[in-house]
Symmetry: C2
């Protein structure tokens, strides 16, 4: 049927955000509040981590994601008016970032997408070394043809350069790539850079109401995968 | 004494951040948690407001601070898994941003600095119209020779361009200006852009541990003013 050439082709490459999207952060959601004795501490800490990664980006400076994570623990203490944690406690908490399991739905979703012929690439704000350790620990590294870190451009997602560098690294046009994330800011960034996007609407996550909506939305990765495969 | 020419001269212009630095946000700290019936709601909301202003900046888009504030109320609802607020409640909460009193220490601090011969300029992420309304409501507008909004460059603080545009607008070199803020990210941005900086260490505020420290720190504006005047 020649008319099929008129329809928008499927993306060739799927880029996957890692933290919260593929990996379950429950360990940190328990450990950070426990360390401070304050149940608001995880959300405060992770919010500061994301905010200050962008502070670095817009002020023309760069520190690694684990270094900002450690600094954000001190800022969390100050903002919640709690005692700062010891250096060893901070290091132990930050090291949990590389000891997170995959969400239970993730292997099945990745299998569906791999079987459907998509190229799968991990793409994260974590440094390259952490990314490799994360995917190995979660036992999902074999699904991906490669892992990309924003370390290469020293700008954090959702800066538009990070997505442009990622699609260049995998050798496709922005319109041939689709970013999958559980974060509204990541989806907004990918869309602004000309990629398609898919939101995994995990509990407690949200879209940015002022950005254009994602191409696909699903409650977990298999649900999203079935939409993308079509 | 000719040797005095060797010492670093005082700044000529003092740029003041507005929200939380000059203005007391207690009204919003009460009203936002009350509207959601969730005591975490203010910190979640204000953190999202700051984070998404930077999401706009790094994705090459721009929405006004009040528009992001309103969107952040919906994101707060989703992230706390509470019900979204009605449009009228959201508008009412956001309108409180232009109905905030000055912190009690602020008029005295501004007087000290004005008497010492400094040029005082307000410099904020709020739009120009909101800024004018804020300073009028707080009865401190007469201390300032002008008010500057990042609306002119459509990039949010702490993007380095915002400070460069501000010092250009007041006709001085970056090294002749000093930014005063209660926020670690604002101090970090000013320092990165070559300005000097002063932190008002209000309760629940914090420096960014990975940035260079501010030139001055004080618990309130008069304490900071006395250091700057020297």
């Amino acid at each position: 049927m020649p008319s099929s050439a008129l329809y928008r082709p499927q993306p060739k490459v799927l880029l996957f955000d890692v933290n919260e999207t593929l990996l379950d952060m429950s360990k940190l959601k328990l450990a950070v509040p426990k360390a401070f004795g304050n149940k608001h501490a995880f959300k405060q800490w992770f919010g500061l981590l994301l905010q200050y990664s962008l502070v670095d980006t817009v002020t023309g400076t760069y520190h690694s994601f684990p270094d900002i994570a450690e600094a954000a623990l001190d800022m969390t203490a100050d903002m919640l008016e709690e005692k700062r944690l010891s250096v060893s406690t901070k290091k132990q908490l930050v090291s949990l970032l590389t000891q997170l399991p995959a969400h239970p739905d993730v292997p099945r979703g990745l299998e569906l997408l791999l079987d459907a012929g998509f190229r799968l690439v991990a793409f994260t704000n974590s440094p390259q070394e952490s990314l490799d350790a994360q995917l190995r620990y979660a036992k999902i590294i074999h699904y991906f043809e490669q892992g990309l870190s924003i370390e290469a451009v020293q700008l954090y997602k959702p800066h538009f350069h990070t997505y442009q560098a990622a699609v260049k690294a995998v050798g496709v046009a922005p319109t041939d790539a689709l970013l999958i994330a559980a974060h509204g800011w990541d989806v907004a960034g990918a869309q602004a850079a000309g990629l398609r996007s898919g939101l995994i609407a995990r509990p407690g996550q949200t879209l940015y109401p002022l950005a254009s909506p994602p191409t696909y939305q699903g409650k977990d990765l298999p649900a999203l995968a079935r939409q993308i495969i079509g």
